[in-house]
């Protein structure tokens, strides 16, 4: 499959480990501009760890990580921060700063990294909250809203600086199917509208089939990625039993004893 779109994120033979404990090794991947890239795998296989290393929270023990062709970890901390400004991250439970209102949460990155005037920032905050349908919650505290709303507010914060790459950690975890489907549509709309690239960690099959067009499948036992490709392709064409079982919701009979 030849994809002519430019590569935004690229990993070459990366090993992720906490001390002596190896989480995943031999990770090689290319995330193309404008794609929705899914990180898949069973629980505990290191999906979130891979995401952490992509957003610069965990340094790989070996291998190379390139952002737009620039080696991410070779630069100084200031250069990494500069690269991170191009990232937006939606954490699993929103990770809103609990001492601020929803509006202040979205405004903080704008106040920190732009010279915009307060009324301009307020306008942009309203816009970002409008995108995710959370305008009415602008002056509420994170503790006053539901889990799904917190996630949407987290998404508004993630897109505050119009990022090039958006990372989602389990966006549909803990959401009802309708809200989750709406969030999927929102992700697609934002991808098309903002022209962003999206990396998504999820094991919500319906949402993966719906939105993702590329991906990587991590195996918990062998600790290496065992398949590359879009979830739909993997579902229809992958012979790897692990992947097949995952994509078809089968119980892994051999694995159970």
């Amino acid at each position: 499959m030849s994809d002519t779109r430019p590569t935004v994120l690229s990993m070459k033979d990366v090993t992720l480990a906490f001390g002596p404990k190896v989480i995943q090794k031999n990770i090689t991947l290319d995330v193309k501009k404008g794609s929705i890239f899914a990180v898949m795998g069973g629980s505990g296989c290191g999906k979130s760890t891979l995401l952490k290393s992509m957003i610069g929270l965990l340094r790989p023990t070996t291998g190379e990580y390139l952002v737009d062709g620039v080696p991410y970890w070779d630069g100084s901390e200031a250069e990494r921060t500069e690269l991170n400004h191009r990232f937006g991250v939606l954490f699993q439970s929103g990770a809103l700063w609990s001492s601020m209102t929803i509006g202040e949460n979205v405004a903080l990155p704008l106040q920190m990294f732009t010279d915009l005037k307060p009324d301009v920032i307020r306008r942009l905050v309203e816009l970002k909250l409008g995108f995710v349908g959370m305008l009415q919650a602008i002056d509420l505290q994170p503790s006053e809203i539901s889990g799904g709303m917190r996630k949407r507010a987290g998404l508004a914060r993630a897109i505050a600086l119009d990022p090039d790459v958006l990372f989602f950690d389990e966006p549909s975890a803990g959401l009802d199917p309708i809200t989750s489907a709406r969030l999927d549509d929102l992700i697609l709309n934002l991808r098309d509208g903002l022209g962003a690239t999206i990396v998504i960690v999820s094991h919500e099959l319906s949402s993966l089939f719906h939105i993702a067009d590329d991906g990587i499948f991590l195996d918990a036992k062998t600790k290496i990625p065992i398949a590359h490709g879009s979830p739909r392709d993997l579902r229809d064409h992958c012979d790897e039993p692990q992947v097949h079982a995952f994509m078809h919701r089968e119980r892994d009979e051999e694995g159970r004893n």
Binding site: L124, F131, L135, G195
Partner: protein
Amino acid sequence: MLRGLFFIHPKMTERFSNTFSENASALTQEQEQADPNIEVHLQQSDPQTKGASAPSWKLSTGENGPVLSLQGSWTARSGSIPSFPKNGLDDAPAGSVLAFDTRETARWDTGLIAFLWDVKRIGHDRHITLETQSLPAPMRQLLDLLPDVPAVKPAPRPKRLPFLEALGGRTLSGLTEIGTVASLGAMTVKGGFLALSGRSRMRFVDLLTDTTNAGPYALLIVGIVNFLVGAILAFVGAVELQKFAAGIYVASLVGIAMVREMAAVMTAIIMAGRTGGSYAARISTMQGNEEIDALNVFGIPTSTYLILPAVLSLVITMPFLYLYGCLVGMLGGFVVAISMLDITAAGYFHQTVTSFGIGQFIFAFVKSIVFGAFIGLTSCRIGLKAGRSAADVGIAATRAVVVGIVGVIAIDAIFAVIADVVGI
């Protein structure tokens, strides 16, 4: 002047010159109420986006109704995105369809969408339909996400209560709080008796952990502080008593002060900061994680599961820490006295043991038990009462320390009065 309101790309001037003047005359009528932001936008354009043209817009009348054309570079970070004036669409007849012409836009991001959102909301008020099909797909998709009515402002927070009402409210909540702490204390005492008879649900491993934390691990800091207090008392006393050749009474001074007041109070203050603060932070974090809710659902009473081990650990360790504090404090006084004054070690020791009676000793011993119970109870209560955010954990820890220290000193004052009355 109006002409200056709009920045027109040089190429465009010719093409739109006729529609432009038409538009300008339409706006002239509204010039007085015109949104001041338009002018702001012109002044602001545009140190940041040098090289790119500033965003500008223009409303004209096309064949099928009004057309809004956008020119230039519309990026949010430039800070130069204009607002669409509230009366910007007054010229267009109600029920008409507004089309867009975005062929002349250069770079754009959500800043452009912010402007289009203004148009959308004002169009909605004026019953003008937006022909979003004339927008490029990305813009259309983003614009479609946005509501066409402004957010309903939440009701303003209630004003501050008048003085009397506030005073009454504070008094009531203060009384309620005393009642809550008292019933919590009663439940803990009951749990304690149940524990003695072996029928409590307290886990002894929790008690052991808490006691280890509040006891052996606190020895170093309690030792250092009491040693220094003893040394300071001896130093201050020695300077004065030396003048009267009564240097030996330094031993009495240090002994009485440590046994009656200092060892118990200093140890309690340390424990309020060290252990009380940690109990409050721990319990309020559990509150935030819904751990307390989980306990309640199982019917595991927080009073015996959480509070009893916390309070018991302090009640058990405080008297011992008090004894240890007395000893170390006297040692501190001894070191200073021996090095500053001409007295013997045996003399100092003899003077110390004769200076206070066993009654004073027991009195302070009981006092330290009360301090322990007070710190344990209040810090747990403050932790349970805390909110669920990270900031609330900080507030709870601070409050536990402040209430602990102030409370310990206040209780000490009460004990001093009692001691005076009973003549100890």
